[in-house]
């Protein structure tokens, strides 16, 4: 590691809160100062952020039409089965 282990550990513990913007401004500044001097931690933050972004991009499964039809039939509301709005 290119910096003291304890500082890296503190960053990893706060990683989710940092990414979600749920930490104090003071801790945020400390993390950013740490990242400026620690390439490994910068990479961990960037790649964790990208991992979460990829999760959103991966989220493209549509409900199959036949599954939707059976769902409405199961609840006996097939009379309300209109073409799904775009």
């Amino acid at each position: 590691m290119s910096c003291e282990e304890i500082d890296c550990k503190k960053l990893w513990e706060s990683l989710s809160d940092y990414i979600d913007g749920e930490i104090s401004e003071e801790l945020c500044q400390k993390i950013e100062q740490h990242m400026a001097g620690c390439e490994d931690c910068r990479v961990v933050v960037d790649t964790t952020n990208k991992t979460i972004c990829l999760c959103h991009c991966d989220d493209d499964t549509e409900l199959p039409a036949d599954v939707r039809e059976r769902l409405f039939e199961t609840l006996h509301i097939e009379d309300y089965l209109k073409p799904k709005p775009a």
Binding site: I19, V43, T47, C55, D59, T61, R70, T74, I77
Partner: protein, 199 residues
């Protein structure tokens, strides 16, 4: 985001059995709930079963919905329970109960800087399949938290309500899930980076 959509539904109409309103609710939430079930169960038939049971239970129990959480969180709670129940039938030893979490998050081991790879590399068919497998490799108690928070966009509070866990437990599991997935993806993309360098 989730609350705004919930507000669009008339609870009064749902409680009095208004089928048109229920159909509208189903058309809004059936796709995200199917996605959640599919990613939890990795089986289209099981996902369909969980989807149907979720809305059957919602239809039967809407009168008991007290509005302490949003309507969507209530639906996700039913869906998560159904998915976990199906998993428990296959693996009775599975437990999601709150239990002492390990204090320390896992230490990162992969430091390949793949975040700057071009989008066509990050979103290639092969990369997407690898990502799917990586999600499936997450332990169930981490996977459900990751899916609700990062895929469905629930807040920490909503995720804790949906899973009946403390917010601290949700945060701990979310961090472990994110680090686990990052580690798996880093191993995959490090190979892509290495191939790029040798071109």
């Amino acid at each position: 985001m989730v609350d705004n959509i919930s507000d669009e539904f008339s609870l009064e109409a749902l409680r009095t059995g208004d089928k048109a309103e229920f159909a509208r609710l189903m058309d809004t939430y059936s796709t995200p709930i199917y996605r959640l079930a599919l990613k939890m169960l990795a089986d289209p038939q099981d996902a369909e079963d969980a989807l149907q049971t979720t809305f059957l239970k919602a239809f039967q129990h809407i009168g008991e919905f007290e509005g302490r959480s949003s309507l969507s969180t209530w639906l996700y709670r039913i869906a998560a329970n159904e998915a976990l129940m199906l998993l428990r039938r296959k693996r009775p030893e599975l437990s999601l109960d709150e239990e002492p979490e390990e204090d320390q998050p896992p230490r990162p081991f992969q430091f390949a800087d793949w975040a700057h790879l071009p989008e066509h590399e990050l979103l290639s068919g092969e990369a997407k399949k690898y990502f799917e497998r990586a999600i499936q490799k997450l332990p169930e108690k981490l996977r459900i938290v990751f899916l609700l928070r990062d895929m469905q966009g629930l807040s920490i509070k909503e995720t804790s309500e949906a899973l009946n866990l403390s917010e601290t437990a949700v945060k701990t599991r979310l961090l472990r899930a994110r680090l686990n997935l990052r580690e798996q993806l880093s191993a995959y993309f490090a190979e892509r980076l290495s191939q790029e360098e040798h071109k």
